[in-house]
Amino acid sequence: MAAYPDFLVTVPTQGDGRDPLRRDRGEWRPRRPLPPFVTDLRPGAFGPFDHLAQIGRAAETAAIGGALVPFDPAGEESLVVAAGLLRQSRHLRVVAGFHPGVAAPVYAAKFSASLQRFTDNRLGWQLDVDLDPAVARSQGDFLRGADRYARAEEFLTVAKGVWHEEGYTYEGRFYQVLAGGFQAPNSGLPFPRVYLTGTSPEALALSARHADVHLFTADQDVETGVGELAAQSAREGRPVEYGLRLPVLARDDDDEAWAEARRLWDLAGGAGEGLPDPDPRTRLWGGFDRIAGSGPFGLVGSYETVAAGLRGYLDRGVTSFVLDARPHIEETYRLGERLLPLFAKEIEHAH
C-alpha cells in the first residue's frame, strides 16, 4: 500500500550522467577512459544493468516509495528493467510503462502475475495510450484517434478479467478470449496498480474506469483535470488517486539550486540566451527538457521551496509525486535524505 503522499523516482532508460553533455553511465555513450597506466578492472565485468540496479538500490536505501520505468521505444525495455529492480529490493514499488500494442493483454497479465508472485505484489503498470503516431507506427501500431482509447479500455478489461475470473470469456472489437483466466497460484493476486495519463475526454473517461492513479504533468491544468476526473470517477463509483510527474532540482538553499540550474543550462548550450525565469505564480521553471531531457516544467530551489511547491499540489488533491532528478543515484539519495523528511508529518498521519 502506498503511503500518503507517495514519492517515486524516474528511472532513466537511455543512460545517465553528471551533466547534459555526459550521459555516459549505462553504456548509451562511451565512458571517459582511465589513463592506460591506471588499473581498470571494469571491462568485461559490468553491463548496463549494473548502473540501473544501482539506481534501484539507491531508491530502496533512501526509503523512496517507488520507481517509474517509463515506456521508451528508443531506450531500455521497461518490463525487464522493472523485473530486475523488483528482484533486488524488498520495499520499492516499481511501475513499468508500456503500450497496449506491445503485447496481448492475457500475456501482459500472465507476465505480471509472475512478477507479483516474485516480489510480494510490488509491480505497477503505466499504460501509455497516446503515443506520437510515428513512434506508434515504428512499434507496429497503426491505430489512430479515439480507437486507441477503445483498445486500451478492452486491454485493461481483458487483463483484469483473466486475472480475477476463472473461465473468463470476452468478445470485443480488439480482443477475444475463450475460457481463459488464471489458476492458482497465479490467481487471487492483487492486480498491478494502474497508472494512466492524458487530459483528453477519452483519457479521463478511461482513467475513471481503470486508473488507480492518474498522472499529470506540470504543464497541464491539474486543477481542472482533477475536478473532471473526480466527477467521472464518482459516477463510476470507484476512487482514483492523482499524481504528478515532476522534474526537480533541490539544494541546501535557493541560490545554490539556481546556480546549479544555470551551470547545467550553460553546459547544455544556453550560455548565450540567459536563464529563463520561473513562473512567478506557480514557481514552475520551464528549462528541464534542456538540462535533464525530461518534461520542461519542474521546481528549482531549496528543499523547503520544493516542498512548498509540492504542498500546493497536495492541496489540490495530488498525492503521488513521480520525481525526476539527474544524476539519478546521487539525487535519489538527496531526495530521500532531505526532501521526504519534510513530509514526515503527512506520512505519519496517513497511517
Binding site: F46, Y333, I347
Partner: protein, 390 residues
C-alpha cells in the same frame, strides 16, 4: 607499472556532506525520517542496516573505476572482516582492503579467514596491517603490548601467517606466537596470498615494513615530508634486499572550480568547534607528525593549506586523518600526478559523502591523470616490487 587506485568505504556511517558534521547514514545517529540504512518507511524502520549503504558505496566505486575499497577498523566502526564477507557477494571485481591489527586474531585463524575469503571472492582480499595507534584505544581492544613491541609482534604474526599459508606442517617458536604442525588444509592452501599494505610512521614500523610490506602506506603529508619518509623506507628496505612500493591515503574535495571546492570547506568550517582545533591522543607517530605540519592554533581554514591544494583540516569536518587535497578537478589531478612523481604506486582516495564523491572523483578526476609521463621523466629510479610475495 600500473597504478592501483582504491576508494575508502566508511565503516562508521557517513555525513551528507562536509558542511555539517551530522551523520545520517547508518546507526551512528538516531534513526529518523531522512536516515538511510536503516531508513524509515511509513513511520517504521525498513529492516536494513548500515551494510546496505556500504554495499552502495562499494558498487559506486567499483563501477567508477576504483579497484577496491579500504575498510578501516576502529573501536567505534563496523568490523572490516565481517563487512568484506558481506560485500564480497555484492561486487564483481572489487578488492577489499581489510584493516586489522595482529592483536585481534591468532595468525592461524587470520590465515583461515583470509583463505576462505579468497575462495569466496576469487582472490580479492588485500591486507592493511596496522599495528595500533596506541593510547587508550589499545587497551579498549584488550591489547597491552607496548608500541615498539607491537611491531615486533606484527613481524612474527606475518611470519606465522605466511608459514601456515602454503599448507605446512609449520612449526614456529617466537616471543609472541608458538605453533606446531600448523598449516592450511587443501584447498584453502592453494589461494593467492593477499597483498600487504603496511602502515606506521615510527622507526619500529619502518623496520617491520621493510620486511613485510608489498606497499608501504602513509597518510597524506606535505609532499617533501612524504618523500623523505619514502626515502627512509626505501633505504631500510634496500639494506635487507627488499623493495616495497608506496601507497598514500588521500582525502579529496574536488569541484569544477577551485573556488567551489573552497566554498565547501568554508561552509563546513563555520560549524567547527574552536575547542576541537587540537587533539593528539595516543602514541601514534603518524598523528603527531600530521599535527606538526601546522602551527596551531589556527584562526582561518586557509591557514591549514600548507602548500597549494594540500589542506590539513579534514579531521575537523569528519572523523579521520587530517590531510587531503582541495581544488578543481584539474588541480587535484595535478597534485596526484606529483605524488606519482615522488614514487606513489597506489592511492586510497576518499571523499565525503563516500557514495556521491566516488562517482565524482571516478568520473571527473581520474581520467585527467597523466602520472605515467611524470614518472618517466622524473629522476627517481623506477621502483620494482614483487606482487603478493611470501
Amino acid at each position: 607499472m600500473p597504478i592501483d587506485i582504491y576508494w575508502r568505504i566508511g565503516t562508521h556511517g557517513d555525513q551528507q556532506s562536509l558542511r555539517r558534521r551530522v551523520s545520517s547514514r547508518g546507526e551512528w545517529a538516531p534513526v529518523v525520517p531522512g536516515s538511510l540504512a536503516p531508513g524509515v518507511r511509513n513511520g517504521r524502520r525498513d529492516g536494513y542496516s548500515y551494510v546496505e549503504h556500504m554495499a552502495d558505496v562499494a558498487r559506486a566505486s567499483e563501477s567508477s573505476g576504483f579497484v577496491g575499497g579500504l575498510l578501516p577498523s576502529f573501536p567505534f566502526t563496523d568490523d572490516p572482516w565481517a563487512a568484506a564477507a558481506a560485500l564480497a557477494r555484492e561486487t564483481t571485481t572489487y578488492r577489499f582492503m581489510i584493516a586489522y591489527q595482529p592483536g585481534f586474531l591468532h595468525p592461524v585463524q587470520a590465515a583461515r579467514m583470509s583463505a576462505s575469503l579468497q575462495r569466496a571472492t576469487g582472490g580479492r582480499v588485500v591486507y592493511n596491517i596496522i599495528s595500533g595507534g596506541g593510547g587508550p584505544a589499545q587497551l579498549w581492544w584488550g591489547d597491552r603490548v607496548d608500541h615498539d613491541d607491537r611491531y615486533a609482534r606484527t613481524s612474527e604474526f606475518l611470519d606465522v601467517l605466511k608459514g601456515v599459508w602454503s599448507g605446512g606442517p609449520f612449526d614456529y617458536q617466537g616471543r609472541f606466537y608458538q605453533v606446531e604442525g600448523a598449516g592450511l588444509p587443501e584447498p584453502l592452501a592453494r589461494q593467492p596470498f593477499p597483498e600487504i599494505y603496511f602502515s606506521g610512521s615510527s622507526k619500529a614500523a619502518i623496520e617491520a615494513a621493510g620486511r613485510h610490506a608489498d606497499y608501504y602506506l602513509s597518510w597524506l603529508e606535505p609532499f617533501p615530508a612524504l618523500a623523505a619518509k619514502f626515502a627512509q623506507v626505501r633505504e631500510h628496505s634496500t639494506a635487507i634486499g627488499r623493495a616495497p612500493k608506496f601507497a598514500v591515503r588521500v582525502d579529496v574535495l574536488a569541484r569544477e572550480t577551485e573556488q567551489a571546492a573552497w566554498d565547501e570547506i568554508r561552509r563546513g568550517w563555520a560549524h567547527v568547534d574552536p575547542a576541537a582545533l587540537r587533539g593528539a591522543d595516543g602514541d601514534s607517530v603518524g598523528w603527531l607528525r600530521s599535527q606538526s605540519f601546522v602551527s596551531w592554533p589556527v584562526r582561518d581554514y586557509r591557514e591549514l593549506e600548507v602548500s597549494p591544494n594540500v589542506w590539513g583540516g579534514f579531521h575537523l569536518l569528519r572523523g579521520g586523518p587530517a590531510f587531503g587535497l582541495v581544488g578543481s578537478y584539474q588541480q587535484v589531478a595535478e597534485r596526484l600526478d606529483e605524488l606519482i612523481g615522488i614514487g606513489v604506486d597506489a592511492f586510497i582516495l576518499a571523499g565525503v559523502p563516500h557514495l556521491e564523491e566516488a562517482y565524482r572523483v571516478g568520473e571527473e578526476v581520474l581520467p585527467l591523470l597523466r602520472g605515467h609521463e611524470i614518472r618517466r621523466h622524473s629522476s627517481l629510479s623506477p621502483i620494482s616490487a614483487t606482487k603478493g610475495s611470501i
